[in-house]
């Protein structure tokens, strides 16, 4: 206790009582206990890297979503809702739901039937070693950097909210993640992600419930937001006809084609961080259902993330500002909106659970990055390029060491970000657009049997380089934004959307041209990998309410209804 109080500063946003500290300590003890328990069940490579492929649809689905709920998701999007209004919801609805349903119904059968260990592993089967190497090295590099950025962000939040020493937060959280992932592998990461998912909801759900009571209901909330900010803040689509009519400076084409198509489909269908969770499903039907279950919960996440940001606009007596202005004035920044709401409504115990929910979110994201990095490094880089014929135990040991190493590199990145804050923006922007060409490559590989190995490789390479080139162009000459994002009024979020769209198109065009210029692959080589030449199991004998397609339609209808209601 003395050690804890030693790092607990006097000037903090919230003050934890002994009950709150007990809840936080119990959480750390429980996640470590789960890791220790699962070590005994993690013996083979299949156990360590794919959780034995034994997860039910519910576990895989919740873990799939929880891995994405981490890092800046909770704090960042609550802040975005305060800053941009309900437009932030697009990242949860059109920016996720269609892609998750598409993954479950269309792409999952090929990932699962091919028995690949990873997304780069699928590229190896479909296009050969060069494509795998390119995707694996890029993914490993970006993932470990992202993990460090998330780690630094968490430490920063803990410093602002609780006054904790930044080194203490980085080392305690990263070592905890390293221990439980190194012990139990993906199974441990998944178990903890499901636990973290429940804690996030248990800790965060009270804020919107009490906030709505405080604000006087949804209609009264809209009136107060219109008074305090603008009536545009509560409309999803009606302000997107022009770049200059909405607080985000974005056009509906950017939201639909950039976010809803390229970025969303790229992230949810090809980012191994999330796809790995679904590959751990026990059978094909569970693998198809997992993203659909994830989509159902994803649709509800705005209730605990976006709504608190909107409620803050209506009920908080202080005006939040950007980081720089907050530092200059000694006020509160947008990023503090969730802790401020937590402190407003939650007394002893509830506050501890809310803080635990924030930590759980950060740690689930970190564990997701580390376990995905470990698998890609071990299977797609180390085994493919460095040591091909070692036994299974050797690769499991490598996975365990790689987990620790990955965490240490992430810690190093966290300190690097601390020194050079702009690295965070660079890496996030590149990561967002790297997945766009990868999506083009995987999509054509799965759905178009004429795609050749050379087409896949060159499309991915040129698409990625085009993305980096556009990013560099705007960095060197900000006025280039009018060409990349189609308008001088576009802001940085719009830039990401359009850069992703262009790089995806470059990838597709190059892939098609090179494929038509090279010899088509033999059909026999494509079985199990490509639509049209892969026999898919019939679901005719399955009751309709148990079919993934049925639930996908239900979720699609709810998705449409929600967009119309909040139009």
């Amino acid at each position: 206790m003395r050690a804890i109080t030693a790092v607990y500063a006097a000037t903090t946003l919230v003050h934890l009582s002994p009950v709150d500290i007990a809840i936080v300590v119990f959480y750390f003890a429980l996640v470590l206990a789960i890791g220790l328990y699962l070590k005994g069940r993690t013996q083979t490579g299949e156990d360590f890297f794919l959780a034995g492929r034994e997860m039910s649809a519910w576990i895989a689905g919740l873990s799939f979503l929880s891995a994405n709920l981490g890092s800046l998701e909770l704090m960042g999007w609550a802040a975005a809702a305060y800053q941009y209004g309900i437009l932030a919801t697009h990242w949860y609805w059109i920016g996720a739901i269609p892609a998750m349903l598409f993954l479950g119904l269309v792409m999952m059968p090929f990932y699962y039937i091919s028995k690949t260990h990873s997304v780069p592993g699928y590229l190896k089967l479909r296009f050969g070693e060069p494509s795998r190497a390119l995707a694996a090295i890029s993914f490993a590099f970006m993932t470990v950097l992202m993990s460090g950025i998330n780690m630094y962000s968490m430490a920063l939040v803990m410093k602002v909210v609780l006054g904790w020493n930044i080194n203490f937060s980085i080392w305690v959280s990263s070592l905890t993640v390293a221990v439980y992932v190194a012990l139990g592998g993906l199974r441990s990461a998944i178990f903890n992600e499901v636990l973290q998912f429940v804690l996030i909801w248990a800790g965060a759900l009270l804020i919107p419930i009490l906030g709505l009571i405080d604000a006087g209901g949804w209609t009264a909330l809209q009136v107060r937001i219109a008074h305090n900010a603008s009536a545009e803040f509560t409309h999803l689509w009606s302000t997107l006809g022009s770049f200059s009519n909405n607080p985000m400076g974005i056009h509906w084409t950017g939201i639909v084609f950039g976010l809803g198509w390229v970025i969303s489909f790229g992230y949810w269908t090809t980012d191994f961080l999330v796809v790995q969770r679904v590959l751990a499903a026990k059978d094909l039907r569970a693998a198809k259902m997992a993203p659909i279950i994830g989509a159902a919960f994803k649709m509800m996440v705005p209730f605990i993330v976006i709504l608190p940001g909107l409620l803050a606009l209506a009920v908080l007596p202080v005006k939040l500002t950007g980081e720089t202005a907050a530092l200059a004035s000694g006020g509160h920044s947008y990023n503090e909106v969730l802790p401020l709401m937590l402190a407003r409504y939650c007394g002893p115990g509830l506050l501890g659970l809310g803080i635990t929910a924030l930590m759980a979110g950060f740690m689930s994201g970190m564990a997701g990055n580390v376990s995905a990095f470990t698998t890609v490094w071990t299977y797609d880089i180390y085994r493919a390029l460095i040591r091909r014929n070692a036994n299974d135990k050797h690769y499991v040991d490598m996975g365990r060491w790689c987990t620790v190493l990955g965490v240490l590199i992430s810690v190093g990145t966290a300190y690097l970000v601390m020194q050079f804050a702009s690295i965070m923006d660079y890496v996030q922007a590149l990561f967002a657009t790297f997945i766009a060409p990868l999506f083009g490559t995987v999509l054509l590989g799965m759905l178009w049997k004429r795609t050749t190995s050379a087409g896949g490789f060159w499309g991915l390479l040129v698409g990625t380089l085009s993305s980096i080139a556009m990013w560099g162009w705007v960095k060197m000459d900000p006025s280039a934004l009018r060409y990349v994002a189609l308008s001088p009024h576009a802001r940085f979020m719009a830039e990401d959307m359009y850069r992703a769209l262009w790089s995806w198109m470059v990838c597709v065009v190059v892939t098609v041209i090179v494929s038509y210029s090279t010899k088509p692959p033999a059909v026999a080589e494509l079985t199990g990998l490509v639509y049209g030449v892969t026999p898919l199991p019939s679901e005719a004998h399955v009751a309709i309410y148990k079919r993934p397609a049925f639930w996908a339609v239900v979720i699609a209808l709810v998705f449409v209804a929600l967009n119309v209601i909040f139009w």
């Binding site: 009582s17 009950v19 007990a22 809840i23 119990f26 959480y27 429980l30 789960i34 328990y37 005994g40 069940r41 013996q43 083979t44 299949e46 156990d47 959780a51 034995g52 492929r53 034994e54 997860m55 039910s56 576990i59 178990f191 499901v194 636990l195 429940v198 804690l199 248990a202 009270l206 009490l210 009571i213 405080d214 026990k282 402190a343 407003r344 409504y345 939650c346 007394g347 002893p348 115990g349 509830l350 501890g352 659970l353 635990t356």
Partner: protein
Amino acid sequence: MLSRTRISIWFFIGLSLLVNGGLILAAGLYELPNPPQHPVILFNLHASIWWGGLLFLLGIFYSYHFTPTRTGDKQPSKPLAPGGDTHAQC
């Protein structure tokens, strides 16, 4: 061959809800006769009591329903071969 019981993820979740709910409920009940000097907004709704109580009850249900000895699912102490009994408890 020795065997040991598998523990379901839902048991761990039940345990977490039980302990957290119990602590929050206890803190809420303590505040009834000892209200804080600077109460949170909507303190009169006593969210700690009903939210903590709800989590506590859910915790009891999940902890009991997925108690390892009750679910009775056993696994051999040696690692299972790929494709073996892999479905249980997950």
